[in-house]
């Protein structure tokens, strides 16, 4: 990076707010999807929206790409500097600015860790609902960029349903405030379209989130099955009974095997072909009856064991296995890649059969964890990074899984985003007109294409989009699949 630009960055950020040392920059060469790497040319540590604005203006002046980064837990390469440039680190903007109990809102900075909002509001009887599994580490700004999900989406919605108002720095450096505390659309829902734009529309610098009252009571139960079909039918029957579970999590035998062999051992029945973790929450009144109704549905579908947690400790135990499932894979495989796809939930048995067939075809193991309530499937591809022939097959195997999911009416990503990882697959679900329309909207927010380039759209498109600024062919980055441990790093 030109010394002149570095000097100007230091003027804006202060002497310790800029990193340009090549070794230090390697820390920022990827997010939690470590198979795609490219370092930025500089990292700045923002503390105010004004600093972000000035850095963005500088980047515009020199036509340098720039992008925001939260805590780097993303799993689609969204915070990876695909074309180098300036990476704007948001972690120092980590204050909860206010909590308004009566109006059930909190005003937070983007670097605040998701779980910290819930921790800060819990004593007041409130919480922030979206709970991606990385919630102990992921930032709310990153959640907004990716429209993060979590196991409780079915009942409580995704991030987009909980963001009311934002302050953001636009791609030309202007600071704007959009939305309002009522979440009412006045004119156009610009907040709604910025949420989930994967950091390509604006850099969010302040967020007003909706808080919900903590449920009075929670019931959690585990049901074990000898067949995937019976397990899947239970899900349909629970929905058909008019029950809205807070969470409905599916694990296949491979996932159970890994969990039970690990420190996350939760006492799941080891011989089960599939298991469901079901949670209902809400008012204490009526919850016991709802839970009983679910038990009956499980039994009707030949669950051979149904275990209802008696207290918080047993509840935590049941969740331990599910939440630790990704980390537990280390017990049965040296390395793994977390996939993220969505299918209509009734299609699960057929899709699983196909994934197992592909697993055999590629000679790579696969375990499946599934947010069965909302159809979000997380196949975990198991491999050994020391074996090149295995590594070489991951992308094709993953691609085939995507195709299977799309073929049954599903989609490419339920919560991780497209980023770098899946952009070449966008053509599976969207045609030219669909992508053109998205590109048009991107042009409104990001006309010069400097903000987080080479993301979301297939490569050919992103090249034409940014024109001569392109220095790196991201498709070749994609092929540089490196041996990486993703253990426990997941947002799932």
């Amino acid at each position: 990076m030109q010394p002149e630009i570095v000097r100007k960055l230091r003027q804006i950020m202060g002497p310790d707010g800029v990193v340009v040392d090549e070794t230090a920059l390697l820390v920022y060469e990827c997010d939690a999807l470590a198979i795609f790497k490219h370092p930025p040319d500089a990292v700045v540590f923002a503390q105010t929206a004004k600093q972000v604005s000035e850095v963005v203006k500088l980047a515009n002046e020199y036509s340098i790409p720039f992008l925001p980064r939260g805590t780097g837990t993303g799993l689609s390469g969204g915070a990876m500097a695909a074309e180098g440039g300036i990476l704007i680190e948001m972690q120092r903007m980590n204050k909860i600015l206010s909590i308004d109990v009566e109006n059930r809102i909190a005003v937070v900075q983007p670097g605040v860790v998701n779980l910290h909002i819930t921790q800060a509001t819990a004593p007041l009887g409130l919480y922030y609902a979206p709970d991606p599994s990385s919630q102990m580490a992921c930032s709310i700004g990153g959640n907004v960029a990716e429209n993060a999900g979590g196991p409780h989406c079915l009942k409580y919605g995704m991030t987009t349903n909980h963001i009311l108002e934002i302050e953001a720095v636009l791609s030309d450096g202007e600071i704007v405030r959009l939305g309002n505390p009522a979440g009412e659309t006045v004119g156009m829902d610009l907040v709604g379209v910025i949420v989930g734009s994967e950091g390509t529309f604006a850099i969010v610098t302040e967020i007003v989130v909706r808080l919900l009252p903590k449920p009075q009571a929670v019931k959690t139960l585990l049901a074990a099955y000898r067949s995937v079909e019976a397990c899947s039918q239970t899900v349909s029957d629970v929905i058909a009974a008019g029950i809205m579970p807070a969470a409905l999590e599916f694990m296949d035998d491979k996932a159970i095997e890994a969990v039970e062999a690990s420190v996350y051992k939760a006492g799941y029945p080891r011989d089960a072909r599939a298991a469901l973790l079901i949670e209902v929450d809400g008012f204490r009144e009526g919850l016991e009856e709802t839970s009983d109704a679910i038990v009956r549905i499980c039994e009707k579908n030949q669950a051979y064991e149904v275990r209802v947690a008696k207290d918080d400790q047993e509840r935590a135990q049941l969740w331990l296995g599910r939440k630790g499932a990704f980390g537990a894979m280390g017990r049965i495989s040296p390395d793994m890649v977390v996939m993220d796809a969505v299918i209509p939930r009734t299609q699960l048995p057929g899709v699983l059969t196909e994934i197992y067939r592909l697993s055999e075809h590629y000679g790579l193991g696969v375990a499946n964890v599934f947010h069965a309530g909302d159809g979000n499937l997380h196949p975990l591809i198991l491999f050994d990074s020391r074996r090149k022939e295995q590594v070489d097959k991951i992308i094709d195997f993953g691609g085939d899984i995507m195709k299977v999911c799309v073929a049954v009416g599903g989609s490419l990503s339920g919560e991780h985003g497209i980023g770098i990882e899946k952009k070449e697959f966008m053509g599976l679900v969207f045609n030219e007109d669909d992508l053109d329309t998205m590109m048009q909207v991107k042009q409104v927010f990001n006309p010069r294409g400097l903000l987080n380039p080479s993301k979301v759209f297939p490569t050919r498109r992103s090249c034409t989009e940014i024109g001569k600024g392109t220095t790196t062919d991201t498709a070749t980055i994609g092929k540089r699949v490196e041996a990486v441990l993703l253990r426990g790093a997941g947002d799932h």
């Binding site: 109990v101 109006n103 709604g192 379209v193 949420v195 008019g242 009144e285 007109d433």
Partner: protein
């Protein structure tokens, strides 16, 4: 057919999305999409209407598989039809817009219409995908057919509430919820706004979670509706702050909700939708002294009726406010949305990008103010 005094040049009734596409592509003048026509006076006055595209024959339910808890419908399906179809499967889309169940689902989405159930969200929260027809006749889709999806930009958010000014909504996919296992509505009348507000303040910090909570005036009536497991409904009614509540269920509940809708329909001649915080509702009403009002008390949104248009500018000095109802001349003078600054610039750019020749619903949305 006349909208805001503009007569339609031609009126077409496409019966499929393909036909819609074709007739929009063939049109060289202005194109005005309409549904059941329940909200033709919402938005800035229309500037021209060479071709009015009536979408009510685009009324097929494309797919409904109750086990998926999703439904895919064409834009002309009425809310009434949708509700009856869903109710037969013990499911619902919790929408009760003021303009009634005869409205089409496309019209409700285009206007982001809402009613007492605002406390549970708006239509934006239930839309998972959309197909739209652009001014050149091209079709595009956004989102998908699954309940959780972050594939590509969520353009349905843009189309929702933009009054058909960017593209014509042709098909919508919704996620659904189970029907409320039981509902009940508690009604109380208070002698003053202060008294009503003290009860609402207690509700805001209490254990109850109403699906609707409306404060109407000048009679200071509070309508609180619950939808939950029967035992949880009873629990919440027991835990309401002290007041002389009358609890109504079943048919009587419908009557009380209809009364609320009637109150809304009688508001005027100017109705503003003022956006504040729940704790500001009382202050907003006291400061601007509307002739009548209905507040979504848990959302901080107050619908206020005025005789005099000067209230619009006064309110907008402090709060965002949408002109929900007003004679065309007043909508034209003040603008329906009153958005300013960078937000307005982005919206105008968006309109220009989607419709550079300004042929789609010209003047109706942000381009009319």
């Amino acid at each position: 057919m006349t909208i805001d005094g503009i007569g339609a040049g031609r009126l077409v009734f496409p019966e499929s999305i393909e036909q819609l596409s074709e007739c929009v592509a063939a049109e060289k003048g202005s194109v005005v999409p309409v549904g059941a026509g329940t909200q033709l006076e919402f938005g800035n006055p229309l500037k021209s209407a060479d071709c009015v595209v009536n979408l009510t024959r685009l009324n097929k339910v494309t797919t409904y598989n109750p086990a998926e808890l999703t439904i895919h419908v064409e834009a002309g399906v009425t809310l009434k039809h949708l509700h009856s179809l869903l109710a037969a499967n013990n499911q619902t889309l919790p929408l009760d817009p003021w303009n009634g169940a005869d409205a089409t689902i496309g019209g409700i989405a285009s206007t982001s219409a809402q009613g007492p159930l605002r406390a549970t969200g708006t239509i934006r929260d239930w839309i998972i995908g959309m197909t739209v027809v652009h001014i050149d006749g091209r079709r595009s889709k956004t989102g998908g057919r699954v309940v959780k999806n972050v594939t590509g930009y969520d353009l349905a958010k843009l189309y929702t509430g933009s009054l058909g000014s960017l593209a014509i909504i042709a098909e919508i996919s919704f996620k659904l919820r189970p029907s409320f296992p039981a509902t009940a509505t508690a009604l109380a009348r208070f002698s003053s706004l202060a008294e009503a507000e003290s009860v609402l303040a207690a509700i805001r910090t209490s254990k109850v979670q109403p699906i609707a909570c409306e404060l109407s005036g000048p009679k200071h009536a509070v309508t609180v509706r619950f939808g939950e497991h029967p035992q949880a409904v009873e629990f919440q009614i027991r835990n309401l702050p002290k007041a002389s509540w009358e609890v109504v269920k079943a048919e009587n509940e419908n009557v009380s909700l209809e009364n609320l809708h009637r109150l809304h329909s009688e508001m005027g001649p100017i109705v503003l939708r003022v956006v504040g915080k729940p704790s500001e509702v009382r202050g907003i009403i006291e400061e601007y002294q509307p002739s009548s009002w209905i507040a979504h008390a848990l959302n901080g949104i107050v619908l206020m009726a005025f005789d005099d248009a000067s209230a619009i500018a006064a309110v907008r000095r402090k709060f965002p406010a949408i002109v929900e109802r007003a004679p065309a001349a007043i909508r034209s003078e003040f603008g329906t949305f009153g958005v300013q600054g960078a937000a307005k610039r982005l919206m105008v750019d968006m309109k220009r990008t989607f419709d550079p020749e300004r042929r789609l619903n010209p003047g109706r949305h942000i381009d009319g103010e």
